[in-house]
Amino acid sequence: MDDLTIQRLMSLSQLSLDAEDKDKISRDLDAIIGFIEIMNKVDTEGVEPLAHAVDLDQPLREDRADLDIDRGLFQSIAPETADGFYLVPKVLDRR
């Protein structure tokens, strides 16, 4: 796991790591990828890819709307709220 890949993963996951953590994470990721490599060796020739492990179809829900939502209950466990909004640290729109 080279440093550039770690940098890129940090940016994608929006995490900042110090040098020591980076070292540890890098070793962990190497181990995980090593394990995936073992799975990659399995011969899957002629096997159809599956989107889900369970062979069932998606059930559908009737389009009925529920207007009875207790915002206060949900907001009581939020770290910070104001005027009905959930508050988060100031962000700039990067999308």
């Binding site: 989107a51 889900h52 998606q58 389009d63 009925r64 909004f85 959930y86 999308r95």
Partner: protein, 479 residues
């Protein structure tokens, strides 16, 4: 400067589906509620809360697919599109990546000049919307409103088949008209029910390959699509003519300044790490389901157009304008079904009604006149109770009241003065009151004849038929 350059444009349109509840939860999608009162366990991504797919969202996507003659996937899959942003509580958006519900189709786009261009639709897929971030309300924080999170969207992607900004705007308009027609979207651009992204590049005329493209994000009006693209096309040509290179990037349209601005470079292409969402099973659409949806499809614009031409003997360009929008087509049919003359009904709807709507910045979903009122008005013109100028006066009155046409005619005494003796008496009076002018007319001054007709019309308070006055007057003056 633009003469030897050719723009290439493809668009992506996010259509908010007009369901009652969200795509994966039972929360209402009603617009305009106080912040976060439309966000339940699933929308807030509480651990353990699982999504259940809304059947109506699936039905609406299939309707769109059938309307553009697309292949509908027998089986499709929902994927997670991963990115971190505070208004996306799960840390991923549920979308469809490589198995969209609607495959390749065709859309006939009506251009400004009345011609029709076939635009390829690459795909359309179902996904959920994100919430809304409010950056300017709180000094130290960003406010998050998750009412919109989980709202069902159909993302429609076109082929790069358009060759001008005007064509791209026309395509956006056509998609708007079709989804409104199918009643799968309320079409309200101001409330964000439809948003358009445009991919644009330019190349030398005759080139086979496409140039590097940029993407303009989140344009929410037809006019802005055209303006943003025109600006961007000019900008790209300018860069290339100066020997520069186009950088692949996402740009934003600033309507106030009429420019596009770079948002971020795509050098490090986005990495959303799509994978099938294990919380949702593959969606299989049975032939029974497809047949049920097919049986609820409304008559499509092209079918209606053909019927208008054959049943009502309308000229094709007139029928095209009447089937451009579901509201106008429905209004027209209701008027004709009430017995009004098909040609006259078309003239009124596309003439006086269109002009009045335009004046008040309203559209055909909001015509203050009822089909019954318009049909009665046309009937009174045809039986000669009303002259064309009186009809316009009655029209103005029915525009602002629900009163029946006949009642307005009676109450206001607007019946056309067609009694010849009464009219003769009126003309005689005008002749006697204007000896000088009568002399001039007899001497060959035809312009003055118009003046005298005007005086008769004025004296009749507009109730006489000018053509009839003209004939009678000439007869009485022996000219």
């Amino acid at each position: 400067m633009t003469s030897n350059w050719e723009p290439v444009v493809g668009i992506e349109v996010h259509v908010q589906l007009a369901t009652r509840s969200k795509i994966f939860s039972t929360t209402s999608v009603e617009f305009g509620a106080a912040p976060n009162v439309r966000a339940n366990l699933i929308d807030l991504a509480m651990p353990g809360a699982l999504p259940v797919l809304n059947e109506e969202a699936v039905t609406m996507a299939v309707k769109f697919g059938l309307a553009i003659n697309a292949e509908i996937a027998e089986t499709c899959v929902f994927d997670r599109k991963n990115y971190f942003y505070p208004d996306l509580p799960k840390g991923y958006q549920i979308s469809q990546f490589d198995s969209p519900i609607v495959g390749r189709g065709q859309l006939a786009v009506l251009l400004e000049d009345g011609s029709v261009r076939e635009i390829g639709i690459t795909r359309a897929h179902l996904e959920e919307d994100a919430g809304k971030s409010v950056h300017d309300r709180f000094a130290e924080s960003t406010g998050i409103d998750l009412n919109r999170a989980g709202t069902p969207l159909l993302e429609i992607v076109t082929e790069p088949d358009m060759r001008s900004a005007a064509e791209a705007a026309a395509c956006f308009r056509q998609i708007h008209s079709l989804v409104s027609w199918l009643d799968i979207c309320d079409g309200n651009l101001a409330e964000g029910s439809m948003r358009c992204d445009a991919n644009v590049s330019v190349r030398k005329v005759g080139d086979e390959t496409f140039g590097e493209r940029t993407e303009i994000k989140n344009i929410n009006s037809f006019r802005f699509v055209e303006r943003a693209l025109n600006y961007e096309i000019e900008r790209q040509i300018d860069v290339l003519e100066r020997g520069g290179e186009i950088v692949r990037e996402t740009r934003q349209y600033d309507a106030d300044r009429d420019v596009t601005l770079s948002m971020r470079s795509k050098e490090l292409s986005d990495d959303y790490r799509y994978f099938p969402d294990p919380d949702l099973l593959p969606l299989r659409l049975s032939s029974t389901f497809l047949e049920t949806v097919r049986s609820t499809m409304p008559e499509l614009p092209e079918q209606k157009l053909e019927r208008f031409v054959s049943d009502y003997t309308l000229a094709p360009p007139v029928a095209v304008r009447l089937t451009r929008d579901h509201n106008i087509a429905t209004f027209y049919e209701s008027t004709v079904e009430l017995g009004a003359d098909p040609q006259q009904s078309a003239n009124w709807l596309l003439g006086e009604v269109a002009a009045a709507l335009n004046r008040e910045e309203r559209d055909y979903s909001d015509v203050p006149v009822s089909p019954k009122q318009l049909a009665d008005l046309i009937a009174r013109i045809q039986d000669k109770t009303l002259s064309s100028s009186l009809a316009k006066e009655v029209f103005e009155r029915i525009w602002s009241s629900d009163d029946p046409v006949d009642e307005i005619i009676e109450r206001r005494g607007l019946r056309q003065l067609s009694d010849v003796e009464e009219l003769r008496a009126l003309i005689q009076r005008i002749i006697e009151e204007h000896p000088d002018q009568v002399e001039q007319v007899r001497g060959g001054a035809t312009k003055v004849l118009g003046y005298l007709i005007g005086q008769v019309m004025k004296a009749s308070q507009g109730k006489a038929d000018p053509r009839q006055v003209n004939e009678l007057l000439k007869g009485m003056l022996n000219i």
